[in-house]
Symmetry: C2
Subunit: 496 residues, 2 copies
Amino acid sequence: VHHASGRHDEKNGMMSRAKVLTIDTMNPTVKKVEYAVRGPIVARAVELERELSEGMKKPFSEVIKANIGDAHAMGQQPITFFRQVLALCSYPELLSDSTFPEDAKSRACSILNSCGGNSMGSYSPSQGIESVRQDVARYIERRDGGVPCDPDNIYLTTGASDGIVTMLKLLVCGEGATRAGVMISIPQYPLYSAALAELGAVQINYYLNEEKFWSLDISELQRALDEARLYCNPRALCIINPGNPTGQVQSRECIEDVIRFAAQERLFLMADEVYQDNVYAEGCQFHSFKKVLFEMGPEYSETVELASFHSTSKCYMGECGFRGGYMEIINMDDDVKAQLTKLLSVRLCPPVPGQALMDLVVNPPQPGEPSYERFIKERTATLSTLAEKAKLTEQVLNTVQGISCNPVQGAMYSFPRITIPEKAVKEATDMGQQPDMFYCMKMLEETGICLVPGSGFGQREGTYHFRMTILPRTDKLKILLNKVQEFHLKFTQQYS
Amino acid sequence: VHHASGRHDEKNGMMSRAKVLTIDTMNPTVKKVEYAVRGPIVARAVELERELSEGMKKPFSEVIKANIGDAHAMGQQPITFFRQVLALCSYPELLSDSTFPEDAKSRACSILNSCGGNSMGSYSPSQGIESVRQDVARYIERRDGGVPCDPDNIYLTTGASDGIVTMLKLLVCGEGATRAGVMISIPQYPLYSAALAELGAVQINYYLNEEKFWSLDISELQRALDEARLYCNPRALCIINPGNPTGQVQSRECIEDVIRFAAQERLFLMADEVYQDNVYAEGCQFHSFKKVLFEMGPEYSETVELASFHSTSKCYMGECGFRGGYMEIINMDDDVKAQLTKLLSVRLCPPVPGQALMDLVVNPPQPGEPSYERFIKERTATLSTLAEKAKLTEQVLNTVQGISCNPVQGAMYSFPRITIPEKAVKEATDMGQQPDMFYCMKMLEETGICLVPGSGFGQREGTYHFRMTILPRTDKLKILLNKVQEFHLKFTQQYS
């Protein structure tokens, strides 16, 4: 019998071996990864749900998860046409079923014809199904008023996250003072900080201006970059527009400034545009980085390297579970593009049902087709309800003393600033907890409402926030906002 | 106007900037990644297909892709029951359609009930849908004759590849002489070498014994390990059983020896068991590492760290496009498990349709249910056809002078050894090409058959192989095998 590294275990008298993989011997970069959107507070929410279902008494009857942009989980209905086509693609025998509309059938046939053996069960090319990439390119051209799009620049992805991580992976390199740095906004969506930690790249923070509706100031970009150049090699600039968690929608002028800045400072631009249809505020409009780049003329459109990301998970469809997405890549070096394609081939392909769904998003029913009216009705209803909820959330939160909320111009979240009394800050600090984590944890225990503390996204020191989705059904959202209000007052009194 | 790093472009008189991201400045580990299964030979096959479709004359009328285990693309039909349930889950209005069998409806309802908002469009928990993990655990218990399985040890994944890469990610650490090393078989499935290159870990090769049906010798494991200890820190041992590309099925005795070896040498065991239903040869049987580990008693079952991987892509279902899979993790340190769960949360969740499909694979129709007979008929037909094709492939290839093929005991590939004349070896070497790449490229150009050269999987120096799937329809497979035969004779004559 072999016991190369055995040690005697007193308790059961058996030989036991030290584990190969322990917290001390595992990959140290993985340990640095943090992802607040599904962090400890969500784990506790799941526990509370279980306790409730087991009949345990709580000061609430239901856990409301407003921590994540998960539209269907909050009751949003899928687009009928999309699901009809997916059912037809899954089980093509339904193509002879007369209850399905003809346009759904023809979309399904064209998707299946692009699949090996006419089956969604076949691998697709690693870059994605060719006809889907062509449809994506035509969609981008329509969206951007005719700016040309080459399907060879389109890569289908497993949700937008997959594309973002892949692009960051290409960019990281170097050690010590030449280690690659990537600029991200603060507050940010924590996928960015998590990926950078895992890849061992330097996170360069630039702060959005909360006083000006979370807008982006070029002078702040410059400050962050100049400081970072002293200790790393800044290579890329990430922008989230419409903003997550901040909900701001960038002006055209701001985007132009950002592009000029990236060109001047030689930064690869990454534009996270997954909320491109989620724009609610009057006077706000979505401008894609691609369109603005091309309208700035060849000096920019032929040189600035840009990757932009989209997804099936947000906008009016909210199909998170299918993990569909694409990225468009502009001005990438051909050799690097070949490396990217090779890298993607190792994982074989993005999920084909997600690719099919992406195809429907970029090629929805057209006027004159049987499903057009129903599609428009469903899409409009979802988007206008979201706009109402964005407004309602801002209004109610701003009535609360000690909560101050910027307008939710777009995306799916409010990110209000909260005043936390000094006594509470001290109690949290003594417990080794961030004060806004302490606040959100208390709110969860007392009200069943699950929010994400601002510290999970980053914020200026000494300020506190939480992120709350605007996704709950309107009646539930009202209850939720009232409960937040009550909780905040009680919490403030308790710690004053 | 800003031109921090502008240079004058003579051709169009415009300022152009050097790219931020070039082959010289990109992540160097990505450049080291290779993945032959979708390498240059497949790119050329796709080109040839396009040329054919454009009417270009070729010495063949069709490209046959025998490079990848993509069953549906080769004409294999999906299991009806699985697709019925997926259609019902995609478009639940079909639950009132009387043409769907009741058991399909009840499976769909139970999957939807486990989804947030009863929709596959919701995110699932990052570890996977709880009820699916429970079904996986019960499947493993049945498969392993009652050895207990805890659903908390099950992680649903985006295909098996995702799980394998994630586990390797946890294991890598260290620099220089303490850099983590991972033992992989040669020949191997190139996901392993690709992932290790990307992660910057040391690949430790152990050679399978071609003379003994590609079996695994413990003495060879020991040799490889002892040598590796001089320059790295060996941490894990990867096994593919049934073998890819080699098709061998490991004996129970061999698995016991491997487990003893891993215990003695303190290696984390990774068992890639995605072909667990693909066993054809008489006298061969699939033994899971988990089952053998537990039958070896607590000295092993309570200490050896094991991750095993399964997928919806292979076996009788062949649903590659859905990217479904799971891993079971045994004896993992609790703190590491928490890190694993956190790491997975960043990517939110595996695709929900793939999770649904995995659920159906582990919980198929039962005796007495309306879909049972059809399911058994379809499954049996697919598996017995595969068994015939495995035998046919071996037999025909072994009739060819200069080709020698081990029995395809399991999985989906033959990996015959080929004799390449010295003159051809020289011509290839002069072109800077691997001789078997030269051989396969010529075969593709002359016959339209797309195979993968053995050099893409690794082989003993001076030996040459190719991997060919056994998936083409029997009539097509016969034509393909005849063409390979003809080509080999012609090639041998030409270079003799």
